[in-house]
């Protein structure tokens, strides 16, 4: 022990002597940053159209590829939701909407939105684009594997979309794919549809694992000089923790997919109990459907946070930049992200209160579920305290951030209802649940995605997006989304069950009919409003105002590249050196209201910065 201490002392002395030699003064050099540990990264530079834009190894291009593919699937999911709302609001108006197609749409809408849009967009899209830039790396650590990761995802999407065109259509078993009904005859798409779904999910997991390893190692092992973990922007913390969750949760999805594929193809009985059909026993015997639910939700609950944590991280950065204030309680925010990530592995059975498991088991999961609300609430307070007395810019980005906070709090509070077993049992499988999870993991993360796109579009393209259209987009989306999901809470209270194709002449109908029509109309309008956004994207790409360098006056590294938009290799000749965290906004004594991460302390001597 004493030896170690001596070595430490020696080391500190070395640093002192080294730095004082460098500065030429007798005192410690305040700009000292440890020397580089790693050699320059070896990169493959694309030289043809195919290696530059299609099979490209540049994380930025891969990020854009991920984003475009994910948005494409998102549009498919949006159209499916329109058709569902048509049926629910105006039953029997459209003869092509049968009960079978309705269930198929519910299933595909759910799976597309959760996995192929949100997960792929946050981790594959924003992760790929922002991680190397924000930590100051030239690229991901394994660019080749990263490229394969995207193409794996692409194939997964193709397989998923192919299921629309196979005999029997896509699977209609609900996005949770519960056996035994998912693979039994009578469920729509129980032939090829479910098979393609399972194959697509397996491919997605394999592809994601390749990307996820890249994200984790880039963040852990390829940061630039001076970039310690506690100086990383919260975006990176969110994406990092979410990726770790994904690497540990997706195995459960892979395993359940493999087992169900075998149940389907080889008629094994992992999940299939003894089933009597029309008086005759099927070949299945003795399997456990509840086992699937456990495996699925062991993936499924962390999946919620795989979507939410990057959103938390990104929104923290956006709020800080656009209110010109440092993020309130940075360390608390980091530990909240990590804590939520860890807790998310111990709450999965709160999705299974009505599965018939032991009430004591439910009690345990209710407790953990309510505990996870604590770090989440901390984050909400910190966002609000970041805004408090900030120099807030009410632009599109900020509007979406505020929209996020409101919808997230709303969805979070209904989550506390549903987390309690006694309250959940009557509300389970009603529209209350639909309202809850669409608020908390549908609208809230989407708000962040839109905010993030308006924020980083100038970085990717060099042009600003149209503010006027952006504000229209925000207000229609925000108010419209509230008109859709807020009434659904009421529908849930009066007991309207989810996943029902039609209410027929049930007694609920008297008060639910008008409301369903209203919700449907709101859904059509909100969906249509998204095309304002797409128009804005395309228009701004060609005609937007040139953004120049760092249009938002942000501190984090991605805005400090020598070229805007950044080119392959990101940093030109020399990697940046980081001297501070990413949140030095409005520092007393500084000349400007922001101090970029690369600014050395000696350049801003009078600024009263926090020590990071």
């Amino acid at each position: 022990m004493s030896d170690e201490l001596n070595i430490n002392k020696k080391r500190k002395n070395q640093i002192k002597t080294k730095s004082s030699a460098a500065s030429g003064r007798g005192e410690t050099d305040i700009d000292y940053v440890r020397p580089a540990e790693l050699p320059e990264q070896d990169l493959y530079h694309g030289h043809s159209f195919i290696t530059k834009w299609i099979f490209c190894q540049d994380a930025k291009v891969i990020g854009v590829q991920y984003t475009l593919t994910a948005v494409f699937t998102g549009v498919v999911g949006l159209i499916l939701s329109w058709m569902m709302r048509m049926q629910l609001g105006f039953p029997d108006l459209f003869p092509f909407l049968t009960a079978e197609t309705y269930y198929q749409m519910v299933t595909m809408h759910g799976m597309i939105m959760v996995v192929y849009l949100l997960t792929a967009l946050f981790l594959g899209g924003f992760g790929n684009y922002l991680i190397p830039l924000m930590v100051g790396a030239r690229d991901m650590v394994f660019p080749y594997v990263n490229m394969i990761s995207f193409w794996m995802f692409f194939v997964a999407v193709v397989v998923l979309m192919a299921s629309f065109f196979v005999p029997g259509g896509p699977t209609g078993s609900g996005w949770t794919l519960y056996p035994p009904q998912a693979i039994l005859e009578g469920t729509p798409g129980s032939g090829y549809g479910i098979l393609l779904m399972l194959i697509s999910l397996s491919l997605f997991v394999i592809g994601f694992t390749m990307g996820g390893l890249n994200y984790v190692i880039t963040i852990l092992q390829a940061r630039t000089r001076g970039m310690s973990l506690m100086r990383m922007p919260l975006t990176i913390w969110g994406i990092f923790t979410a990726t770790v969750l994904a690497l540990l949760a997706f195995p459960a999805l892979l395993v359940s997919s493999i087992m169900m594929t075998l149940d389907k193809v080889l008629e094994t009985s992992f999940f299939m109990p003894t089933i009597i059909k029309a008086g005759e026993a099927l070949s299945y015997d003795g399997g456990s459907p509840i086992l699937f639910q456990h495996l699925f939700w062991f993936f499924g609950h962390p999946e919620v946070y795989i979507v939410a944590l990057p959103a938390f991280g990104i929104v923290s950065d956006l709020i800080s930049v656009h209110s010109r204030k440092n993020i309130f309680g940075y360390r608390m925010m980091v530990w909240a992200i990590v804590g939520i990530g860890a807790l998310s592995f111990f709450v999965w059975a709160h999705h299974m209160y009505v599965s018939g498991m032991s009430p004591w088991f439910g009690f345990f999961f209710a407790t953990t579920t309510l505990i996870i609300a604590v770090p989440t609430a901390l984050k909400v307070y910190n966002w609000i305290l970041t805004l408090w007395r900030g120099n807030i810019r009410i632009n599109t980005v900020m509007l979406f951030c505020l929209g996020f906070i409101v919808t997230f709090v709303n969805g979070g509070i209904t989550g506390i209802f549903l987390g309690n077993v006694a309250v959940d049992v009557p509300l389970s499988d009603t529209y209350f649940v639909i309202a809850h999870f669409h608020m908390v993991m549908g609208i809230a993360p989407l708000m962040v995605i839109f905010g993030a796109i308006y924020h980083w579009f100038p970085l990717v393209t060099g042009r600003l997006m149209d503010e006027k259209l952006g504000k229209w987009h925000f207000w229609v989306t925000f108010l419209g989304a509230y008109s859709i999901y807020f009434p659904m809470h009421y529908l849930g209270f009066i007991g309207v069950p989810r996943r029902y194709f039609e209410m027929y002449d049930s007694p609920y109908m008297t008060s639910a009919v008008g409301m369903n029509e209203f919700i449907s109309v709101a859904a059509f309008i909100v969906g249509a409003a998204q095309f304002i956004f797409f128009y804005n994207l395309v228009k701004s790409l060609r005609l937007g105002k040139p953004a120049g360098k760092n249009p938002w006056k942000a501190n984090s590294l991605e805005w400090l590249t020598p070229d805007v938009p950044p080119t392959h290799g990101n940093w030109g000749e020399k990697l940046p050196v980081v001297h501070r965290w990413a949140y030095d906004y409005g520092v007393p004594g500084a000349k400007e209201d922001y101090i970029p991460q690369t600014t050395a302390p000696s350049e801003v001597k009078d600024a009263e910065v926090e020590k990071t």
Partner: protein, 235 residues
């Protein structure tokens, strides 16, 4: 690793906290590929854990009797059924191949091209033997005993399903490892790791650390086998 002297870094808990608090790398001196393999193996551990937990759950809950492994996995030797004979040999071969892999890593770091190559090749042959014996075991169960994934003559039908799925998944891991071992043996003999020749697909420079990374994977596959062996054959 230009300016990093690993010997000078403090050790123990203080060293750990200093590494986590530092810039650039969290695991000092750990190659990117090696760190990636560790995290991948962590993820893969979850895959195998899910398989094994599912197996335990179903085995605990099925109503039909579970087949008795020492009878099912017995081989007739001179008229006497010897329980677990084949499995014992398979396990022995696989564990031995872990030893040869460790030697290959050692010779790799000594830049002893020939010895390293031979030991990688030996490991590959060990793995191939294991896969071969597994194929024999499968064919005996399928063609001789009539075990199928959906039914078997001994009892609970999940026996066959879990057996073929889990050993099949493990066997796939071994087979992938064997393929890479053969490729790497060729690369070692050709001198790729001495000259830093660039990879055909990745265009990255070859380095002997790759042998260690492959070794990590190989040891992991062996370790998983120990668990499968314990849970499937001994329980």
């Amino acid at each position: 690793m230009s300016d990093l002297n690993l010997d000078k870094l403090p050790g123990g808990f203080k060293g750990m906290s200093e590494d986590i608090g530092s810039d650039q790398t969290t695991f000092k001196g750990v190659n990117w590929g090696k760190a990636m393999m560790w995290i991948f193996l962590l993820s893969d551990t979850f895959v195998f854990s899910c398989f094994l937990v599912a197996y335990m759950k179903v085995r605990a809950s099925v109503v039909e009797p579970w087949p008795y492994p020492s009878e099912v996995f017995a081989l007739e030797m001179m008229g006497v059924p010897v329980p677990l004979l084949l499995i014992a040999i398979m396990t022995f071969v696989l564990i031995t191949s872990s030893g040869t892999m460790a030697l290959a890593v050692k010779y790799g770091y000594e830049k002893n091209r020939k010895m390293c190559g031979w030991f990688v090749l030996l490991t590959a042959i060990g793995g191939l033997t294991f896969v071969g014996m597994q194929a024999f075991e499968w064919s005996k169960l399928i063609f001789h005993d009539g075990v199928r994934p959906w039914a078997n003559p001994f009892g609970a039908e999940q026996f066959g399903a879990f057996f073929f799925m889990i050993t099949g998944f493990h066997g796939t891991h071994v087979s992938i490892g064997v393929i890479f071992l053969f490729i790497f043996a060729r690369k070692v003999f050709r001198g790729d790791f001495d000259t830093g020749r660039r990879g055909y697909f990745t265009t990255m420079k070859s380095d002997y650390v790759a042998i260690e990374i492959l070794g990590l994977y190989w040891h992991f596959v062996d370790l998983v086998w120990v668990f499968i062996f314990a849970f499937f054959y001994l329980w």
